[in-house]
Symmetry: C2
Subunit: 183 residues, 2 copies
DNA sequence: ACCTGAACACCGTTCAAGT
DNA sequence: ACCTGAACACCGTTCAAGT
């Protein structure tokens, strides 16, 4: 990635650079000063474009959730969709370094009612009432996030990995959860 | 809590003070310098007793898990125990301020094999094989932690709370998970 | 053995000033 | 409109020196 200069900063540019730092050096290395340096700019310059670091983290988390939703393959029923959504989230939290940690500290951005509608939509399309759709998804997200947090925590990963296959065990739990909702 | 002085520092004293700060001022306020100040001592003094801040956080997390395990009432079968364990964890993560955030970043301390045995014991006592016991508990812990992380995140709590009853929805998910394991 | 003082290399954020 | 320089109030950790 060549060093830029004399190019206007934009929120998209900032978001991209933030992901690059998080993936290459980890969430702890994502400081406003380093981020600015990668954009060939001084630290305070960022504050013209973003309110503060929390807003940036919120944007990053929203982008991760959106990507996972988009990665869910076409399903034939809400059970199948929910399972694949859980798998996609779990994958997203693990493939992008520190994504799980990021999503656990990020504050939501945007309008709740709007977001809720968009989140529930795929399940509502299969005939589930919106309240149930949101309830089911909240648990699936929680399970995926909780698992990913442990898997992404280096020493905890080693700890758990010493007596179980993490991927398989997550799948077993996810299947049990979806199965339980069917009953 | 009267200001101490001229009293030897011990790991127990440090742990207690750390919990006080976390509960009263939040995890972000738990810096080594503040912790030392509360113990009427200079920052570097802590490093004689603990290896570093990570070790301290690990001790705190272990203590939270142990407390939740101890809070589970007598059960008549593994399903009942598992459900109450999930509820106790959820409660522990919510009643102690920032406990969920702490547990999601804390690195495990101590010997894995030893810990695994202790963790699995209650379910093994009900006749479950250790591998299953650990698998079931890992998912219950993940679900409780994932939920708690969202509930404990102020803006996220408001966001989710605007369209669901958090406590009830967690309970529904936990029941579905345990039900699913029974099938 | 246990603690202090001083230092190192950082943070997020603010704000006047520059262009 | 957009960015810089300087500053404020912090971090975790190390290490020689004190007692």
């Amino acid at each position: 990635m060549a060093r830029r200069s004399n190019i206007d900063l934009t929120r998209a540019l900032i978001l991209g650079a933030a992901f690059e730092i998080m993936e290459q050096e980890g969430l702890d290395a994502l400081s406003t000063r380093r981020l600015a340096a990668r954009l060939s700019v001084q630290g305070p310059a960022l504050y013209w474009h973003i309110r503060n670091k929390d807003e940036l983290l919120g944007m990053m988390a929203a982008s991760i959730y959106a990507e996972a939703r988009a990665a869910v393959p076409r399903a034939e029923g809400w059970r199948e969709w929910l399972t694949h959504y859980g798998l996609a989230l779990h994958e997203a939290f693990r493939c992008r370094r520190d994504a799980a940690r990021l999503c656990s500290i990020a504050k939501p951005i945007g309008d709740p009612r709007e977001a809720a509608g968009a989140i529930a939509a795929p399940l509502v399309a299969f005939g589930l009432p919106e309240a149930k759709a949101l309830s089911y998804q909240a648990s699936v997200i929680s399970l995926a996030l909780g698992w990913a947090i442990f898997e992404v925590n280096g020493p905890m990963h080693a700890f758990l990995g010493s007596f179980m296959d993490l991927g398989k065990t997550f799948r077993t739990g996810l299947d049990a959860l979806v199965e339980g909702y069917s009953a």
